[in-house]
Subunit: 294 residues, 2 copies
Amino acid sequence: MNQIERVAIVGGNHGNELTGVHLVKMFQQYPNLINRSSFETLALLGNLKAIEAGKRYIDKDLNRCFTNQGLQNPQLSSYEDTRAKAILQILQPQNQPSVDVIVDLHSTTANMGLSLIFCDLHPFLLRLGAYLSSINPMVKIFINQESREGGFLRSLCELGFVIEVGAVAQNILNAELFHQTEQLIYAILDYFEGCNQGNIPQINSTLTLTLYQYIGTIDYPRSDRGEIQAMIHPQLQFRDYQPLNPGDPMFVTFEGKDIFYEGASTVYPIFINEAAYYEKGIAMYLTQKQQQVV
Amino acid sequence: MNQIERVAIVGGNHGNELTGVHLVKMFQQYPNLINRSSFETLALLGNLKAIEAGKRYIDKDLNRCFTNQGLQNPQLSSYEDTRAKAILQILQPQNQPSVDVIVDLHSTTANMGLSLIFCDLHPFLLRLGAYLSSINPMVKIFINQESREGGFLRSLCELGFVIEVGAVAQNILNAELFHQTEQLIYAILDYFEGCNQGNIPQINSTLTLTLYQYIGTIDYPRSDRGEIQAMIHPQLQFRDYQPLNPGDPMFVTFEGKDIFYEGASTVYPIFINEAAYYEKGIAMYLTQKQQQVV
């Protein structure tokens, strides 16, 4: 691993996720909070117009606009397409070094605690994840290899990842989650500082890290016209990262009928009842839990 | 009290409050659920365009458009002004009897359980509230006499009131709150049926009803430019209807400094951290708790 020279912390990639917005605004006001001696840290707001409007996005989801194809297509001129190109220019300026790390701050109405979302099993990120979850059991690691191709901001660099905190409603701040996220960011920056200085924070060398690997997504039951016909079952609501066994209740219809999980094996749902995913046809992600020695 | 002849149940007065939207859609699909023998029940969606868009409103808050002045002003032509006039025409048609009761369904990111909001101390509503809170301790009664003048839908008739349920994020459904709200609506309709038939559901005749009376609102601490500088304190978050004593922490700044309640007496905050109230300059409502014999 080479030295980490530049780290970007991005908030407000979605304009109605206020935790990241206000963390970045605070970091911009007090840069000492994120300055470390061995690397540069940049704090950047993502979707400026959507932040102003208190919406996830204006025309389209900014965090799906970072595809190579989209970024290289001058025809795409929506606000988010334009902003994605501007962000690329800031993070990967021409004739200057790119950022080495992107920390993309998000929040969710699902009860995901302090989740880290990685695009793959990069050994450096896994060690970081193992360290962070060893100092804070609220930290969970979700690996979504599908997301490499999805136009996500984090896919712009090898060490790009998301911090996803919840449960918190859109357009509000939860002080406890705000300060927990803040402390997590400092732990990440301190870890990079340690790595750069040859003092990698030590964890138990036989530590097995718990990972949640993407399997797929599940939609709400819908009518022919696409209207949802059921809600997340009360026994599943807020139970992100907990086992869902074949036969467990998954949804309940408006009329009160239970709908059960009919898969063949136990899965671990996350992003359960995320507000922004109703329109994407996602009631939850399913993951499998696995242990990995790091 | 005369007979109740017509009851209107309105959902989606705010388009991103899905509990009411989907309850009304279900009642429209299965009218038997809300039909009672002694009166007519109408289930009505409020802000149709905002429901479609998943937003609170399109141009302005529909639930502030029901002022006499606004309803009589043909110059006002925003979507919400137009829709308010159309709703008035449905609820109070010319040359036909008006509805006697409006039940306006709302949800909030504050932890308000099943709250009833009344415009005044109308004896019929107080008895209804006493009955409902006697069968379900989650039911709380908030009296907001200021709201008579605020252009709220509920102010269109003497027996207009709000059911405000939470905590639930905007644009999601919480199955438990959905079904609790549904049961509360049936209890209300059954109560009206009993009254019409001379069988008013009996409660302990010496019952004292707990009421929360409006005192005022508190804004977030803000900068000169209007940006919020603090969040609801973790010790106050989700503690709606619980006592806030002089000297108790109320807010915490982004930098972590506590801000204390400096009032002279104990108050009972509600609507704590409601997402839609950030733009209205309201961090919470303050109420005083009082007992009333009904």
